[in-house]
């Protein structure tokens, strides 16, 4: 990113809107390794407008910013709460990297704070139903309508994902029998292609939601969206234990049980498939374990020499426990 991104954003918006734009209240919202979100106020004449710029370094770009904007607006048109996209820019002369600008929405995104807000307001159940409904509306979109530069799953998304993760496990976790056991469990139960491939977000979990006391306000982080995916992959992912933030008994995001989320999902037209859901939940857990092993490997080979990446290697046991709890053999009669 350039040394003075505030100046670059002001220049861009001035050109985009045709009037002099001044920028104030400039602050970094998150310092993620991949993307940076910057909140600011853009004032045109006497009218202040609160906005967020998402700056995407090309090295970590999963899809072009225009494609991400297109998907978000498509979801929004189908009733999914998403911050409106104001502009996209691929000209790197403004802030050094491509970015998109969207409206700012107040609320909590930090998971533990989300849990506190919902507990204090007593709106956890209501929020979880809205969350399920938002996901169902996304899954009702014809994936062929999404921009073609949004990555597409293959004909059998489950088999494809399993093959990718199996390769990583073979390379980095071959000596860990829990992973081999879980892979055998998944191979035996491969669900086949979804009856209705969908537009899937792939990361609609607590942490990527803007939540207020009144409930769900927006779904964030659309960079991982996939066309023609299995909608049960989307439903299963936010139910993993690591997205419960120590509230383990509440399967969805640490604030709602499965029935509540699924009720919201089905009320908005989604079709819940419990077997397929269970498969994708084990798959997602295994995928996360493989990701932790990859982080540790990136530390060890010097690609990303960072103590946080090193520590990921010692979190693999947590994933092994989560896997064992999900693939427990049926009790003997």
């Amino acid at each position: 990113m350039s040394a003075d991104p505030a100046r670059g954003l002001a220049d861009f918006l001035t050109r985009e809107l045709g009037d002099q734009v001044t920028i104030s209240d400039f602050r970094f919202l998150s310092a993620g390794a991949r993307r940076r979100n910057i909140a600011f106020t853009a004032t045109v004449g006497d009218t202040p407008r609160r906005l967020v710029a998402t700056v995407v370094p090309p090295a970590v770009e999963l899809m072009p910013v225009e494609a991400e904007a297109g998907v978000r607006e498509l979801a929004r048109a189908h009733g999914v709460p998403v911050p409106e996209v104001v502009a996209t820019c691929t000209d790197t002369s403004y802030v050094g990297e491509p970015f998109l600008i969207s409206e700012h929405i107040d609320g909590d995104t930090v998971p533990r704070r989300v849990l506190r807000t919902l507990a204090a307001a007593g709106t956890a159940e209501h929020t979880a139903r809205r969350w399920g409904a938002a996901m169902a509306r996304l899954h009702s979109v014809d994936p062929a309508q999404a921009p073609e530069s949004v990555p597409a799953a293959g004909a059998d998304p489950a088999a494809e994902h399993l093959a990718e993760v199996t390769a990583v496990v073979g390379e980095l976790l071959a000596d860990r029998p829990v992973f081999s056991l879980a892979l055998r469990w998944l191979e035996k139960r491969l669900p086949g292609p979804p009856p209705r491939p969908a537009l899937v977000h792939t990361d609609m979990r607590n942490g990527n939601l803007i939540i207020g006391a009144d409930g769900l306000r927006a779904v964030l982080d659309w960079e991982g969206t996939q066309r023609f995916g299995d909608p049960m992959r989307d439903v299963a992912w936010p139910a993993l234990r690591m997205w419960r933030f120590r509230e383990d008994a509440e399967e969805f995001g640490g604030f709602a049980d499965r029935d509540t989320f699924v009720r919201g999902y089905e009320e908005a037209g989604g079709t819940f498939d419990p077997d397929r859901y269970r498969w994708w939940k084990v798959m997602g857990t295994l995928y996360w374990g493989a990701g932790l092993a990859q982080q540790a490997a990136a530390h060890l080979d010097g690609t990303v020499r960072d103590i946080v990446m090193a520590a990921s290697g010692r979190r693999v046991s947590e994933i092994e426990w989560d896997l064992l709890m999900q693939i427990r053999p049926a009790a003997k009669a």
């Binding site: 960072d306 979190r315 709890m325 999900q326 693939i327």
Partner: protein
């Protein structure tokens, strides 16, 4: 002869240095790393004390699993992972749900 402080005692001192002494003086964007470092020092402290017995027990448990008996394998692995978690994340195995 036992050196004092022991390895476990030194690792705890290292954790205290990172967390109690250095962390408050660090800029916000480095504090998380210091916390992670302190946590790793504590993991190593537990590994020094519990690791050798856990490794021996793991070998014993897995060798006792009859070939092809996935249920016995599951039981053995659950015990192995519990021992690993006692080092890496004590208490994580108290939740036994999905």
């Amino acid at each position: 002869m036992q050196n004092r402080p022991t390895a476990a005692e030194l690792l705890e001192s290292l954790a205290e240095l990172l967390e109690d002494t250095l962390l408050p003086a660090l800029p916000a964007d480095l504090q998380h790393r210091a916390r992670v470092g302190a946590n790793l020092a504590r993991i190593l402290g537990r590994e020094v004390e519990l690791g050798p017995a856990a490794a021996a027990r793991e070998k014993e448990l897995l060798e006792a699993v009859p070939a092809g008996d996935e249920e016995a394998l599951w039981q053995a692995l659950a015990e192995v992972v519990r021992a690993d978690l006692a080092i890496a994340k004590p208490g994580y195995d108290s939740w036994e749900g999905e």
